[in-house]
Symmetry: C3
Subunit: 356 residues, 3 copies
């Protein structure tokens, strides 16, 4: 009996087929016994407080563990690699269910009531600060549409979630998800995301495809809000990257411009700073940046295509530990300015009907 070369698929959630498996647990012992590096996948329903009803998906392979949140737009809660944790200590301790968040609340900033992920997508219709915007209704008199902080995608539960298991070398594990941001007289986006892990490697890749399901061209925006706290973030930590130029977002950021790539200690009451970067890429348009600790012996590297995500924002929230001591490295299609300004700067891309 030979092990099949066809990967195994397990459907965990499917709105299309009215499936939600509830809990789920699969190990390499059962699914890929030939795999020398043990792995496991576990779907757990969360309970209590504002996390009641949230699904958490945990992939563990070797000494790396990744926790995904299908209920919050397929964000990554955190990544643990040996004793290194990628993530941050948000004041929000629970994984908050979208039903408890009214994105329009708090002047359009209620998105922050659920914000605690290592990686959270901002978009897909827009990202950036709350503010006014003409809404593209198919009527002669469009009403004002107040944009809310960082858009909606992080507060939409995945409609489809399945895993893919290779039973032969390199024994890759994949998590696939689909999230829909759709309405009549509004956006019609499908986000199809695949996270791939090769057991034994201390890295993962994430591939997202956005499809415009509409019959018309549609503006979109996507920002990956990737947030680091201790231990990678500490006084003396540094950002390293092939920087072409740096623009501070505002007056407060100007004050920190000279030291934008260095990190100071937590400081209660300090204001956030943000820097807009252009980066150099290689011949294929790939770039790579790094955040490392003071000693320079631990770090994380992020690589992506500048063709898809030409802009990088560094967000420095060096607040008191209790208020969130954090820095975001945020590759995106644009910068988190008000959308009308981004549009004027030519940084609001569009997708044609059916285009991906």
């Amino acid at each position: 009996m030979s092990s099949s070369s066809v990967p195994l698929f397990h459907t965990l959630i499917s709105a299309r087929h009215n499936v939600h498996v509830g809990s789920f647990h699969l190990t390499s012992r059962d699914a890929a016994p030939a795999c020398p590096m043990p792995w496991s996948v576990r779907l757990t329903p969360l309970r209590g407080g504002r996390q009641q009803g949230v699904d958490l998906l945990e992939l563990a392979a070797g000494d790396m563990s990744i926790r995904l949140v299908p209920t919050r737009g397929m964000g990554i809660l955190d990544v643990t690699c040996g004793d290194l944790r990628l993530g941050w200590d948000s004041p929000v301790k629970e994984v908050v269910h979208p039903a408890f968040i009214d994105l329009g609340g708090r002047g359009g900033t209620a998105w922050l009531e659920g914000f605690n992920e290592y990686m959270v997508r901002c978009g897909l219709e827009w990202f950036g600060p709350p503010g006014p915007e003409e809404h593209h209704l198919a009527t002669a008199e469009p009403p004002a549409n107040p944009l809310t902080l960082h858009g909606k995608i992080a507060n939409i539960p995945a409609s489809e979630l399945w895993i893919e298991v290779e039973t032969k070398k390199p024994f890759r594990l994949r998590v696939h998800g689909k999230v829909y941001e759709v309405m009549q007289y509004g956006p019609k986006f499908e986000l199809a995301t695949t996270l791939t892990v090769t057991p034994g490697e201390a890295r993962f890749t994430m591939e997202d495809r956005i499809t415009n399901l509409a019959g018309q061209e549609q503006e979109f925006g996507l920002l990956y809000h990737i947030n680091h706290g201790p231990p990678l973030l500490e006084p003396g930590s540094r950002f390293v990257g092939p920087v072409k130029n740096v623009t501070p977002r505002d007056e407060e950021s100007k004050r920190g411009l000279a030291k934008y790539a260095q990190y100071g200690p937590p400081r209660a009451g300090s204001l956030e700073q943000a820097f807009f970067l252009e980066l150099h890429g290689d011949r294929r348009g790939q770039t790579r940046v790094m955040l490392h600790n003071k000693a320079g012996d631990r770090g994380v590297a992020l690589g992506w295509s500048l063709k898809a995500l030409p802009c990088l924002t560094i967000w420095k929230g060096l607040h008191a530990k209790e208020d969130g001591y954090v820095t975001g490295l945020e590759p995106a299609t644009g910068y988190p300015n008000p959308r009308p300004a981004e549009r004027q700067a030519g940084r609001v891309p569009t997708l044609k009907p059916g285009q991906t």
Copy 2:
């Protein structure tokens, strides 16, 4: 042993008695074995994406099948009659749970994030476009209350849901529901709805009763947003009715006035049009309109009382198929104008305390 003449009742949901049966399945074989035309009733919990937690109730009798959504104010998702489907292809594919919709979002148009029913009620406190309105607070200084698109009733889950089975001729099946739109210093409405099917007949009736539970007179509004897509809607389809007069809603609609009763093909980027109609009724105040396809060999007829619903709006959304190619026939207590304008026109009726 004689079959009883007393109908059977099955409670599926009752907030009053703290009941929710979860899943439910009943067939004529078990409940009305004497019925020559087999029928079934099935309550299914939906799963995945934004439909997690929604209940779907399906009635099948002969070759007709009706899908109701108790969780969304007892709307009708679609009706299938042989190979004819009544409904439309909204960009919203899931049956969206109200918890995921903040009606005030998107400038008060977030109602559209869940809009995909064949028949959805708009009301009960108001319907029509979003906009400002003085709120009837029992205080000296009422704050502004921004009205949201088409009101709240479609996003309130039914508090009571039960079915009624006749075990003797004509073996009628009834679905009863109650939905409450209530708050202190606000509306206090009970919607009691009954859908009746006689197995073997290709028709159904829906009877709604609205009761003002308040101690004061209360304005209300009710519009039945009945939406048709293909196959009934196609280039060459026609609306037919005893029309007294037609008023276009806006400039864009004026352009389509001459052909308001005819339907063209889907057109990407086209604007919606709306026409406000007065209809003739018979001596009892009953009226009837029809939508039929190009060949005129398939159609749907809607009949209602002009005393209760004197106004009809035709909504033409002849957008690209992907954006919703649809027409709504919308009998109502008024027209979907801003409520202050409707009030001035005398089209906002009131209910006295306890009045139905």
Copy 3:
């Protein structure tokens, strides 16, 4: 075998440990067999309408029964003592799940869509009417943050819920809960509440502790909205208390100033009145007020510390029975005015980091 002096603990909900027991039932017979006065604790999931998913916790001891709502910020739905019920008949009959309420809706008054408790907390970041307020974002340009009626805490489910049982005299029963109102760039409050009942006594105590989890000083506000309807409220009922002075809230309240401590009959269409009181306390700062019926043979007494809650508001909503015939006695840190006015009056207290 001697009964232990160590109290027993039962965890019912814990977000920290991912626990939700679902249903729960415990009686003195099982847990404290030596207790001469039988008691029971029951956790029940509510079903149907807008109460789907709400947990109700009922404590019964002797002839007193208290119903708590962990899902709505640990409010008290009602208290029954023999044939006396503390509570009121709100137009809202269901115990509404927070997911169905968008607090920003209805001009910021949608809090009323779920308002039906005997005791509901208002706060913790603010309480009072909806209105504009500068938001304390850690940015140079804070957006406007529209405050919503009575704040958020009543619409946040408890993250932790456990009961504590004394197995020896005095056999006290305690319910502990924790509710978190937290976000980055916003409040970071922990509400830890303990309700204590001694079986056989017709009284209960509630002790709340608010901790500022932030790294910065933080304004807060807490108002206990304690609402009485029939039978305690009837024409001729009276408020009694050690009143220092009374200020009517507005013109309508001025009209009722002379009779602020007396209650008239329900009157359809009447406006609410509110009175702001200062009270005398004893040497330890404790005060006590009472509401009794016309005959003066039945009443409720409320006692609290003026150091923590120096302000008392009497709210008179003598509306038609169907609209809520109710009076609120509302001890608080301030009065329910717009927060900027309260701040100017020095009635918005603050908590230092870690302060309780």
